[in-house]
Amino acid sequence: MTSTEAAFSAKAGPLFDLLEGFVVELRNAGLPVSLSENIDAAEAVQHIDIEDRVAFKYSLAATLVKNDAHWKTFETLFEVYFSLRGPEYALDGDAIEFDDDVDFDPGEQPQGEGGQGGGDGLSPEELAELLYQALRQGDEALTRAIARQAVKRYAGMEPGRPVGGTYYLYRTLRNLDLDSVLDRLMEQRRADADKPLSSLQERLEKDEYQDRIDKLRREIEAEIRRRLVADRGAEAMAKTLRKPLPEDVDFMHASREEMVMLRRAIYPLTRKLAVRLARKRRHKRRGALDFRNTVRHSLSYGGVPVEPKFRHPKPAKPEIFVVADISGSVAAFARFTLHLVYAISSQFSRVRSFVFIDGLDEVTSFFEGVDDITEAVHRVNTEADVVWVDGHSDYGHALEVFWDRYGNDVGPKTTVLILGDARNNYHASQAWITKEIQRKARKLFWLNPEPKAYWNTGDSIVGEYASHCDGVFEVRNLRQLERFVDNLV
């Protein structure tokens, strides 16, 4: 059967509509699903047992999601879309067993007045004790049941209330106080051991309990989603899940969780970039014809120069100066940029870095001889001497210090990158310095982590500097940063 035929026959069933709707949601969430991939998915599900939800999920993933960074979004949407809708949409019977019929099994616990179902009859202390036991024994079924009960009790969900899932999650977790549960689990573990746990054992035990707690957390999240879907419907719910993909998370507004995600993303990104740039460098240029080498090779073809040989030029690598604002909200952006620049530092003859708030300090030495950039960047943020008066950004003064101390080092091989939002707290701009830098340097670029729409509003004076730059770029996320750095070399 060809793919079009398969797609056609799939069209017949309600499954096709369901799939269409799902693809629309994926696209809304920013996943690039092409028409042919949509057709592939429709064909794929013909070959598997629809009742087998796991197989169904992986068939869709394999045909629709071609980037691992998008997997989480896919998984959550899949759950909302296929598992949590009303039973009329369910693929199989077990998809929805809402309300109280969770198979709550208090095990040997004396509590749990039968008949109440779902553990409603337990006191908060009893529920907490049961949770502790479930985690201690790694009883997944019981953990799941407790997750449901906990949401029911503690999340305070009310129909139609316009708050997001995070709020409910927070309320549920606060009541469960998992940090203390973990401490108690560890204490019990230590007490059970016949000799003191070694540091390694501590670590392993803790990771195991943490893993169980993470599973509990995921169950709680799933339960909250399930209730939200029941309340609001799958489409509305899917809409609230439209979170930015990691590469699109805004540096200036990243939540703590997103920051962790960004930090995780940075190393693979730098590695990728380094490989790509090294390759580009090797291939881009072809030097002048190497006459001798060509003739030498032509001998094997009876003197016909069939294979011209070229000299590989050694193009001069530029030197790069990064001058970064590390105040408040732009600090994250500076951190990622420094990270990326140092990761590809072999592409430059030398990298020097300077950081400022209202004073300015050179931090190049922090990066010398270290092979852990994260560590160095951390030191920059904690040790550099960047405060002059009050610790509020003063670009004008910072530029003056830069020009006084390092202006002479800027030369025709230097590319200067200034990083910051140019929010100057109404101080003098000293834009003449950028003009001087541009005159002496090879190139001067400005990277601004603010959306373009905000430039030159309030105390942003990026425009004053922009007229003396070879380019001013909006760099709000990893995607834009990667693109800029890629083009820099």
């Binding site: 092409s34 592939d40 598997i48 796991v54 197989a55 003191p196 746990l197 540091s199 990771d207 790509r276």
Partner: protein, 300 residues
Amino acid sequence: MTHRFDSIDAVREGLRSVDYLADDSIAGVAFLADRLEKPVLIEGPAGTGKTQLAKSIAEMSGARLIRLQCYEGLDEAKALYEWNYKKQLLRIQVESSDGDTEWTEIQDDIFSDEFLLPRPLLEAITADDPVVLLIDEVDRVELETEALLLEILSDYQVSIPELGTIEAKQIPLVFLTSNNTRELSEALKRRCLFLHLDYPTLEREKEIVLTKVPEISENLADQVARIVRSIRQLELKKHPSVSETLDWARTLVLLGIENIDESDAVDTVHLLLKYRSDIEKAIKDFTANSAAHFEASQAS
């Protein structure tokens, strides 16, 4: 068209029979690759069993494995086919010395099957027997070279200007692997099923260890898997791969270690980690809290 695999479970069991431990997604995607006649693009960190999956699929299904190892600078002549110039030259000399052979005749003659040197891609589609084609580390070729693959991947055919289009006699199962050092083109990804192979779960890694290191005890395999899981949670330059887990497990068995204590871990962790800074980080993590916790447990 007969299928190679009866069910997803059959794939899983078949792989197990050749010592490859698959999870739901691996078995599911391999099954679909056969049913949909589509190539599979496998991506993931180093040493997670990408290459081995293709090999094991070939082994379990009794198919011949044809491998195209990609590298920077790989070209058509190495991937698809090449004309055998020497042989062509000889023929030209022989025929033109006859005097009365037309050039067009010679041309038809020398651009025929006989003078074609098939490279892995062409070899895979012209094979009569069942084959598994492994295009390994496809992210190493330049973006432009990727285009060479597209025709094969979507239509299972190769166009040779002098000969016309050669169609596949049978549809090979195709696996491409990538370490993701470069974004692959959308065109390539669209043609493939996608499988991300990440580090295995604790349970699966333990099973892999038990399968691949038969002399190991259940207890030791469990500890190995747990320690590796903990190390993978650290922020490192390079996390231990499955092959490194296996190397480590084998070494522990050789050393006669049955319970891994702190000093065993410290002494052997270089088998799991390649960077000095990573090794230091891991050691610090293993040993950091010894004193503190000891005091705490004494006090209570």
